[in-house]
């Protein structure tokens, strides 16, 4: 059985394409810094309005969260920014975040990206960079 697992896993390695390294083309697709500021303005409005995510963001300093998200997304996309906020684990350590909360945030972000006219392919390239953060941000397993 173990051999089988290894064989199946290897088959995936063969099928896998190289994960896209962050280049600044994604940053340009998102409209660089002004595009990200606009995206976060829209994103925060939707996060507050959604009953699943609203309670998590109402008590927060929303302006500060938006600025940090701009920096973080910009950096993740290979743009000329440096995220200076706390690391993901300590930033979320005192919050009750379940996997369903994480997924709800992804859905709201998809709606915001749709509203900004970001192509589906570029959305997924960003999400592929952000998704592994589930390990640091989800506190309630």
């Amino acid at each position: 059985m173990k051999k089988t697992l290894i064989a199946v896993t290897l088959a995936f390695c063969g099928a896998a394409m190289a994960q896209t390294a962050p280049t600044d083309s994604l940053y340009k697709t998102f409209g660089e810094k002004p595009g990200l500021v606009k995206l976060m303005d829209d994103f925060m409005v939707r996060l507050l309005a959604d009953p699943r995510t609203g309670p998590h963001f109402k008590p927060a300093n929303q302006q500060r969260v938006k600025e940090q998200l701009v920096d973080q997304f910009c950096q993740v996309m290979g743009g000329p920014c440096v995220y200076k906020g706390a690391d993901m684990k300590s930033a979320h350590a005192n919050l009750d975040i379940k996997k369903s909360d994480f997924n709800a945030l992804v859905e709201v972000l998809q709606l915001s990206m749709d509203a900004q006219g970001i192509p589906f392919r570029a959305q997924n390239q960003l999400l592929a960079q952000l998704a592994p953060m589930h390990r640091e941000t989800i506190t309630e397993k």
Partner: protein, 310 residues
Amino acid sequence: MKHATSALALALAGLTCGLAQADTGKLRLTGGVSSIDGAAGGGLTPWAVIGTNATEGEIGASAHISRASTQDYGLTTYGAALGFKDRIELSVARQDFNASPAIALNGIAPFGVTPGQHIKMDIVGVKVRVAGDAVLDSDTLMPQIAVGLEYKHTRPGSLGSVFNFLGTKTSGVDVYVSATKLFLAQGILVNGTLRATKANQNGLLGFGSNAPGRDSYSLQPEFSVAYLLSKNVAVGAEYRFKPNNLESLGRAAGLGDALREDNWKDIFIAWAPSKNLSLTLAYVDLGRVVPGITGNRKQKGAYLSAQVAF
């Protein structure tokens, strides 16, 4: 078994009503659709995903109905599944196979097959996710891995005499391991499943056979690949290898390749108009299914499936 299936179906129905209002938090289409055997996956093969919309800490339910229609046969399947905490999946399904061409078997021997005979099969499945997250672990090649078991019981009706002649049993257990990976940046999902099975035509023609060396388990690989066109539309293809336990028996009886069994394949498009509904349309090629009574035709046709999930 029949009672257990009914009880589980009832429990599922009750739970579904209760859950209809609950907020379950999987991303759209990431629970797969319902396979013909009831387990979450593609149409013909299970994936490592745990079905329903329930993610960690949640309980979800789903129900499906599907229909495949080929030149000579028809297959209707319906079933339901429960998902526990994105870890365990329980499923039940019932298949109704229109085997009308089997009347021709009476010309070979006095089997007493009645006109318009259907073969029915009940399937109870359990699947457990053992490692990985197919969607969110996008920085590694590690797939989501699950192991599963399907207990199948077939009721051949007047074809029971044919089952006896072939030496096939009316119940069997399939065991499988699946690995599923979504390459998120590319929008490509890949699944590989390895199944240990004795089933003939997925169990519709029973399990094992009288043919020497053809009554034991064999390992059969199954593959699916899907491409996400948007958040709610995926297109893809599947290929499922199958055992061929009956052909040599037919050959020994002077019937040539009358009992030949081929691999299954399909191309599909799945659409999830909402988080709770998905529709799958496919073109299936089931190869030859008892070609001795169907003019040696390959069985190709349309497959349509609808699933509600909470």
